[in-house]
């Protein structure tokens, strides 16, 4: 039987208070959980660059390599990262300063860039990418590239070379399958 509206006034005054839950401890736990997750969460988002296995040692080559089903490479495109710039090499030929009429200099010398009002001398990744796009036009099926660097070249620059070689600005794949040569120069 439903309650008559007139019954309201006969309710005990304590009824309403009894329905209220005490949520304070629950809120305390919530805040503590939020604080702990916030301190434990890594805010930098990481990604992974796949690297081709170099043909050294007896390691079994996993089947999860990028471009594993690509046709065997005949071009042997190699980017040399020198102290003062880039050279690009391939089977039978090396593009360097000599072929450009600047003997003793690398193919793509370092350039001066302004970063945050401070002039720094760094590698010219844009010109490198332009060169690689030209090579890709001549060899459209080629996927792989070998990176060889001077012993003192920073890991940061190597990652940027891989970035420049992976994709052109319009999203076309260049040479995403990068392998490393162990210390040919330096």
């Amino acid at each position: 039987m439903s309650q008559k509206p007139s019954d309201r006034r006969h309710r005990e005054p304590g009824d309403e208070e009894a329905l209220d839950l005490d949520v304070t401890p629950f809120l305390n736990i919530m805040f503590m959980l939020i604080l702990s997750t916030m301190t434990l969460t890594a805010w930098t988002q990481l990604a992974m660059l796949n690297v081709q296995a170099p043909q050294i040692g007896g390691g079994n080559v996993g089947d999860g390599n990028a471009g594993a089903d690509a046709p065997p490479s005949t071009l042997n495109l190699t980017v040399f990262i020198l102290k003062d710039g880039f050279n690009i090499g391939a089977t039978g030929a090396t593009l360097d300063g000599n072929s450009e009429g600047r003997p003793g200099q690398p193919l793509i010398p370092k350039i001066q860039t302004t970063q945050g009002g401070k002039a720094t001398i760094g590698y010219d990744f844009q010109t490198l990418q332009k060169r690689l796009i030209e090579i890709k036009k001549t060899f459209p099926t080629e996927q792989s590239m070998i990176v060889s660097a001077d012993a003192d070249v920073m890991y940061d620059d190597i990652v940027h070379v891989m970035d420049a070689a992976r994709k052109s600005a319009d999203g076309k794949l260049l040479f995403p399958s990068v392998a490393f040569a162990a210390g040919i120069v330096g």
């Binding site: 939020i34 990481l46 390599n65 990652v159 994709k167």
Partner: protein
């Protein structure tokens, strides 16, 4: 209504109150007055609880998608333009060689200095770069030359294989092979290289060659993806 509420002598509890208020209180029972007081509107925390729960769920979900943690303060991971394709299944090979981060064997090369901000400004403290496998220190680099010391290298390998790293990775491989066998898969030889951005190429090749020799041939470089 005379007696207790009579204020004519000036000593009653309602002394000084306007007469209409005095009137309205007359005849109201003690119980009724208390109830009126308890009805003062409380601050509603329901919406606050909602918000807090939402925040918690969001934080827990982002927390679950970062399997690799960098706790060492000296490591500065290089930035890359690599944006993984979120729609790609985890088993598939990304065509551009740019994958999502996953939990697997982690080889870390730490950096040469730790930056600490103090009251007087940023303080740079020199530290010795180290090589770690899954958070366990394996070998120290020579701080002066920033190379792997020749004393820990295997001379039979042509000066590339770092012996303590090879031992650690062989142990890791034995564990990984057992777990792979139990879950019915084959050992994939996958390893994430997480190196400081100042690491020289020579140290990097030493680490890569050692990993390859120990059976970990599927390298991944951990980088920071653009926002």
């Amino acid at each position: 209504m005379a007696g207790a509420t009579d204020t004519s002598d000036g000593t009653g509890p309602y002394q000084g109150w306007p007469s209409e208020l005095r009137k309205s209180d007359e005849g109201v029972s003690h119980r009724r007055k208390r109830r009126h007081f308890a009805r003062t509107p409380p601050i509603s925390i329901t919406s606050l609880t909602d918000m807090v729960t939402m925040l918690l769920v969001y934080l827990l979900s982002t927390f679950a998608t970062n399997p690799v943690e960098v706790k060492d303060p000296s490591v500065e991971i290089p930035h890359s333009t690599c944006v993984p394709d979120e729609g790609l299944p985890a088993d598939e090979v990304p065509p551009d060689g740019c994958g999502k981060i996953e939990e697997t064997t982690l080889v870390m090369v730490t950096g040469p200095e730790v930056k600490r901000s103090t009251e007087t400004g940023t303080k740079i403290q020199q530290v010795t770069p180290r090589i770690l496998v899954n958070g366990q220190p394996i070998a120290e680099l020579d701080a002066a030359t920033y190379r792997v010391p020749e004393s820990v290298k295997d001379p039979a390998s042509g000066g590339y294989v770092i012996m303590p790293l090879r031992e650690a990775l062989k142990r890791e491989k034995a564990v990984k092979e057992v777990t792979a066998q139990l879950s019915g898969r084959s050992f994939d030889g996958r390893v994430i290289i997480l190196a400081d951005r100042r690491t020289p190429y020579r140290v990097l090749t030493d680490v890569l060659v050692t990993c390859g020799e120990s059976g970990f041939a599927d390298f991944r470089f951990a980088v920071i993806r653009p926002e």
